[in-house]
C-alpha cells in the first residue's frame, strides 16, 4: 500500500497514540488507564505505522526488537517487585516516595508500583508487536 495520505496520516497518528499511551500509563493509578491499556495504545500506534509504511520501517522506528522489549518489561516488573526487599517488605510490596510533600498535597509521587506498571506496558507493547510484525511478514 503506497498512499502518501495514509503514510503522512499514520506518522502523525502514531506519534499522537504514543504520547497518549504515556498519558494513560501515568494517570492509571487514579483514573482509567494503566500499563496494560497504555501498552495496547502504543502497540496500536506502531501497528498503524506498520500497515502504512511496512514492517521494516516500523521495526526501524521501534529501534529495539519487540521480543527484547517484552523481555526487558518482564525484567523491570520483576525488579520493581524485588525492590521491596531493600525496605524489608514482602515481594511486590509497593514503596512510595513523595517529592515536595506538604500538608495539603502529596507532591510528586514516585513509586515502585509505577515501575511495575512500566514493565507491564513494555511487555504488552513488545508482545503484541512481536506477534503483529511476524504475522504481517509471514503473509
Amino acid at each position: 500500500m503506497n498512499s502518501i495520505i495514509l503514510i503522512a496520516g499514520a506518522r502523525l497518528q502514531a506519534v499522537l497514540l504514543l504520547v497518549f499511551s504515556a498519558y494513560m500509563l501515568l494517570r492509571g493509578h487514579n483514573a482509567p488507564g494503566g500499563g496494560f491499556i497504555g501498552g495496547l495504545i502504543a502497540a496500536t500506534g506502531f501497528v498503524v505505522y506498520a500497515i502504512a509504511c511496512g514492517t521494516a520501517d516500523a521495526r526501524k522506528a521501534l529501534r529495539f526488537d519487540p521480543g527484547s522489549i517484552a523481555g526487558a518489561g518482564l525484567g523491570i516488573a520483576l525488579l520493581a517487585g524485588v525492590m521491596a526487599a531493600f525496605w524489608g517488605d514482602a515481594l511486590f510490596t509497593g514503596q512510595w516516595l513523595f517529592i515536595g510533600e506538604t500538608e495539603d498535597s502529596k507532591g510528586i509521587p514516585l513509586s515502585t508500583v509505577l515501575v511495575f506498571d512500566i514493565g507491564v506496558y513494555l511487555v504488552v507493547l513488545g508482545a503484541i508487536l512481536s506477534i503483529a510484525f511476524s504475522l504481517e511478514e509471514a503473509v
Partner: protein, 743 residues
C-alpha cells in the same frame, strides 16, 4: 598411570578402611545410626544406619571397588575418556554406598535411581557403537520401570507404617504384614528388586549390559548393582517375609532364574557372556534363599553373597585380562595359556575352584550351606534342592569352561606371543581369589565379622550362622555335593553336543530380547498413531473439542447440581441497552451469514465493540477501554492474515448443524449460569475492602489499577509472563517452516 586413574582407587580404598574399622563394633552385635532431618514436613531424613547387612555390602562395594578401579586405571590407560570413566565409576560407587547405608526409604530410592543412571552411563560408555547405546537404554528402561514401582511401594510403606525409617519399620512387629496394603507393597517392592536384580522374565538386560568395558561388568554386574535388588529384599525381609506370598514368589522366580540362567550360561562361547549368565544364576539363588525365614537359608544367602562377589569379580577381571592380552574372549579359540599367563591362570584356577564349590575354598562352604538351606526351606525342599543341584552342577562345568580350558586345555594351539598382564590388573584377581581360599580355610573369621551380623540383621538372631565351617561331617549336603561334582564333570565332558543342542533350541524359540524390541517399537508407533489422532492440526477440530467439552461439562453440572431455571421476565432496561443488544445481534448474524473472511472478522469486531459499550454503560471504563483496544488490534491482525487465506467456501449443512448445537448450547448454558449468579445475593466483602483500602494504603483511586499493580501484583506478574510466553510461541510458530512429511 594418570591421576584420573588413581584418584578413584584412593577414594575407594579410604572408604574401605573407614568401613573396615567399624567391623569390631558391628561384629559385636551393635548397630550405628545417624540422623539429620532434611525435609521434616515430608518425613525425609538423611539417616545412616549401619548393621551387619549394610556393612557387608559397603565392604564389598568399596573393597572390590578399589581393586576394580586399580585394574581399570591400567585397563583404560590412554583412553580418551579415561577421566570421564573414573568419574562415572566413582559416582556409581558413592551412589551404591548411599543405597546400602540409608535408613530412610526415600533417600534409599534416590540412591537407587542414581545407581540406575550411573550404570546407564557406564554401560553406554562406548557410545559410538549402536549395541552399547541400545544396551544402556534397555538397562535404563528396565531398572527405571522397576524404580517407579519401588517408589510407589515405598510411599505405600510410608503411609502404612507412618515413617520412612526402615529400622523403625522393621522394629514394629507385623506393621506391614498385617496391613491390608501388604500385597500391593510386596508386589511393588519385588517389582523393583526383580528388575534390578534381573530375575526372569526381566533378566535380558543383564547379558546385554556386557557391552560395558570389562571392569564395569566385574564391578556392577557381579558384585554391586545387580545385588541392590538382593539388598532390598534382605532389608525389607523382617517386615515383608514370612507370608506364603513372599515364600512362593521368591522361591519360584529365584528357582526358575537360577536353572534357566545356568543352562543359558552353558550355551555361550563368549566367556564374558557365560559369566553374565552365571551371575543371573547367583542372583536367582540369592532370591530363592531370601524367600525363607529359616536360619540356615539366610546364613546360606549371606555366605553365598560374599562368596559369589569374590569369585565372580575375580573371574570377570581374568576374562578382561584374556581379552586385553589375546584380543579375544571366544572359548573356542583360547587354549593352553597357562605358560604365557602364569599368575592370571593361578588366580583363575583358585576363583574357579571356589565357583565350582571344591573344598577347601569358600565356594564349597557356600554350596554346602545352600544345600542345607534348600533342605530346610519351608516350601518344597525336593524341588528347591533339585534346582540347586542342577545349577551347581552347571556351575562346575562352566567354571571348567571359563578357567580351565583357556589355560590348561591342550585341545588347541595357544595363541603365540601373549604376555602376562601388568601388575595393576593382576592385583584384583589375585587378592580376590586368595580371599576366597583364605575364608574357606578359616571360615570363622568371615562368620564373626560379616556373616553373623548380616544374618542377625535379617532374621534377628545369628545362632545358625555359627554352623559356618569347612567340615560339617558326613551328612546329606555332603552327598549332594558329591553328586554335583559327578554331574558337573559329565556335563563338562559333553559340553559341545549340549551347546549345539542349546543353540538350536534358543535360536528357534522366542527371544526376550526381540520381544523387548517389539514392545518398544509398539509403544513408539502406538503413541505416534494416538498423537496423529488427537493432534490433527486442524483448528476447527480443536474448537469443536474445546467448546464441545465445555458445553458438556457445564450442562452436566447444571443438570445434576442446580434446582430449576430461575424465572426470567423482561428486564427493566433503558433504550441504550436495547440498541447495544441489537448491535451485538447484528454483528453475530453478519459473521454467520457472510462468506468473506474480512466481513466475518468485522462482524466479530462489532460484537466486541457492543460488549465494550455494555462495560461503559455499567461503569467499568478500564475494562471497556481494554476491550475496545483489543478488538481493534484483533481485527487489524486478522485482516493481515486473512488477506492471504483462500476464500471461504460454503460449508455442508451437516457440519453447520453441529456448530449450531454447540454454539446455541453454550449460549443457553452461560445465560442460565449468569441468571443464577445474579439472582443470588452478592458478597461485597472484597469490593468493600478494596474500596476502603485503595486510597489510604496504596495511594490510588482507580481500584482496578491498584488491584493490578499493588494488591495483586504477583498475579499480574504471572499474567504478563504468560503474555510474553504466548508471544514467543506465536513468533516461533510463524517463523518455523512446516515440517516436511517423511516418506
Amino acid at each position: 598411570m594418570t591421576l584420573a586413574g588413581l584418584l578413584p582407587v584412593v577414594v575407594a580404598g579410604s572408604l574401605f578402611v573407614w568401613f573396615a574399622q567399624m567391623i569390631p563394633v558391628i561384629g559385636g552385635g551393635d548397630t550405628l545410626r545417624f540422623v539429620w532431618e532434611w525435609v521434616p514436613s515430608l518425613g525425609v531424613n538423611v539417616s545412616i544406619y549401619i548393621d551387619g547387612l549394610s556393612l557387608t555390602f559397603a565392604l564389598l562395594i568399596t573393597g572390590i571397588g578399589a581393586l576394580v578401579m586399580l585394574y581399570s586405571a591400567r585397563y583404560l590407560a590412554g583412553h580418551v575418556h579415561q577421566a570421564r570413566f573414573s568419574l562415572y565409576l566413582t559416582s556409581f560407587m558413592l551412589a551404591m554406598i548411599g543405597l546400602v547405608i540409608s535408613d530412610n526409604l526415600l533417600a534409599l530410592f534416590v540412591f537407587w535411581e542414581l545407581t540406575t543412571i550411573t550404570s546407564y552411563l557406564l554401560i553406554g560408555f562406548s557410545h559410538d557403537t549402536v549395541k552399547a547405546r541400545r544396551s544402556a537404554l534397555q538397562a535404563l528402561m528396565m531398572t527405571g520401570i522397576g524404580g517407579l514401582a519401588l517408589l510407589a511401594g515405598i510411599i505405600l510403606i510410608g503411609t502404612t507404617a507412618g515413617t520412612f525409617e526402615m529400622s523403625e519399620i522393621n522394629a514394629m512387629d507385623g506393621v506391614l504384614k498385617d496391613s491390608v496394603m501388604y500385597l500391593p507393597i510386596a508386589l511393588l517392592v519385588l517389582a523393583g528388586a526383580f528388575t534390578k536384580s534381573a530375575q526372569m522374565p526381566f533378566h535380558f538386560w543383564l547379558p546385554n549390559a556386557m557391552a560395558a568395558p570389562t571392569p564395569v561388568s566385574a564391578y556392577l554386574h557381579s558384585a554391586t548393582m545387580v545385588k541392590a535388588g538382593v539388598y532390598l529384599m534382605a532389608r525389607t525381609h523382617p517386615s515383608l517375609a514370612g507370608t506364603d506370598f513372599w515364600l512362593w514368589t521368591l522361591t519360584i522366580f529365584g528357582a526358575i532364574t537360577m536353572v534357566f540362567a545356568s543352562v543359558m550360561a552353558l550355551r555361550q562361547t563368549d566367556l564374558k557372556l557365560a559369566l553374565a549368565y552365571t551371575t543371573l544364576m547367583a542372583l536367582g539363588a540369592l532370591t530363592l534363599l531370601l524367600g525363607n525365614e529359616s536360619g540356615y537359608t539366610i546364613t546360606a544367602a549371606a555366605t553365598f553373597l560374599v562368596v559369589h562377589s569374590l569369585y565372580k569379580a575375580a573371574l570377570f577381571l581374568v576374562v578382561g585380562i584374556l581379552d586385553a592380552q589375546t584380543g579375544t574372549r571366544d572359548a573356542n579359540s583360547l587354549f593352553g595359556l597357562a605358560r604365557a599367563l602364569p599368575i592370571t591362570a593361578t588366580a583363575a584356577a583358585i576363583a574357579a575352584f571356589s565357583m565350582a564349590g571344591f573344598p577347601p575354598f569358600l565356594g564349597f562352604i557356600g554350596k554346602e550351606l545352600k544345600y542345607a538351606g534348600a533342605i530346610a526351606v519351608a516350601s518344597e525342599p525336593i524341588f528347591v534342592a533339585g534346582a540347586v543341584l542342577i545349577s551347581s552342577a552347571l556351575m562346575v562345568a562352566i567354571a571348567g569352561i571359563v578357567s580351565f580350558r583357556p589355560f590348561w586345555s591342550r585341545s588347541g594351539e595357544p595363541i603365540p606371543g601373549v604376555k602376562e598382564a601388568p601388575w595393576p590388573m593382576l592385583v584384583g584377581p589375585v587378592v580376590l581369589a586368595i580371599l576366597g581360599a583364605f575364608f574357606g580355610i578359616f571360615p570363622e573369621t568371615l562368620a564373626t565379622t560379616l556373616v553373623n551380623p548380616t544374618v542377625a540383621a535379617i532374621i534377628g538372631n545369628a545362632e545358625p550362622a555359627k554352623e559356618l565351617k569347612l567340615w560339617a561331617g558326613v551328612n546329606l549336603p555332603l552327598f549332594l555335593s558329591i553328586a554335583t561334582f559327578v554331574l558337573g564333570f559329565t556335563i563338562y565332558a559333553f559340553k559341545q553336543p549340549l551347546r549345539t543342542f542349546l543353540i538350536g533350541l534358543t535360536t528357534r524359540g522366542p527371544s526376550f530380547d526381540n520381544g523387548w524390541d517389539k514392545l518398544m517399537a509398539g509403544i513408539a508407533s502406538g503413541s505416534k498413531a494416538l498423537t496423529r489422532r488427537i493432534q490433527t492440526g486442524v483448528l476447527y477440530h480443536y474448537m469443536v473439542v474445546t467448546f464441545g467439552t465445555a458445553l458438556a461439562v457445564l450442562a452436566v453440572t447444571l443438570w445434576f447440581r442446580s434446582t430449576g431455571i430461575p424465572a426470567m421476565g423482561i428486564p427493566q432496561v433503558e433504550l441504550w441497552d436495547w440498541l447495544v443488544f441489537v448491535l451485538v445481534l447484528l454483528g453475530a448474524v453478519l459473521t454467520l451469514m457472510t462468506n468473506s473472511r474480512i466481513t466475518a472478522i468485522a462482524g466479530l469486531g462489532v460484537v466486541g465493540i457492543g460488549m465494550a459499550m455494555i462495560f461503559i454503560l455499567y461503569s467499568a471504563p478500564d475494562v471497556a477501554i481494554t476491550q475496545l483496544l483489543v478488538e481493534t488490534l484483533v481485527v487489524v491482525l486478522f485482516a493481515a492474515a486473512a488477506l492471504k487465506l483462500p476464500v471461504l467456501t460454503p460449508e455442508p449443512l451437516r457440519k453447520r448443524w453441529l456448530d449450531a448445537i454447540i454454539a446455541i448450547g453454550l449460549g443457553v448454558v452461560t445465560t442460565i449460569i449468569l441468571l443464577k449468579v445474579t439472582t443470588g445475593p452478592i458478597d461485597r466483602e472484597l469490593t468493600t475492602f478494596f474500596e476502603t483500602a485503595s486510597w489510604p494504603e496504596a495511594f490510588g483511586q482507580n481500584i482496578v489499577n491498584v488491584i493490578l499493580v499493588d494488591f495483586r501484583a504477583l498475579d499480574t506478574f504471572g499474567e504478563i509472563a504468560v503474555v510474553l510466553i504466548a508471544a514467543i510461541s506465536i513468533f516461533a510458530l510463524l517463523k518455523s517452516k512446516p515440517e516436511e512429511e517423511k516418506p
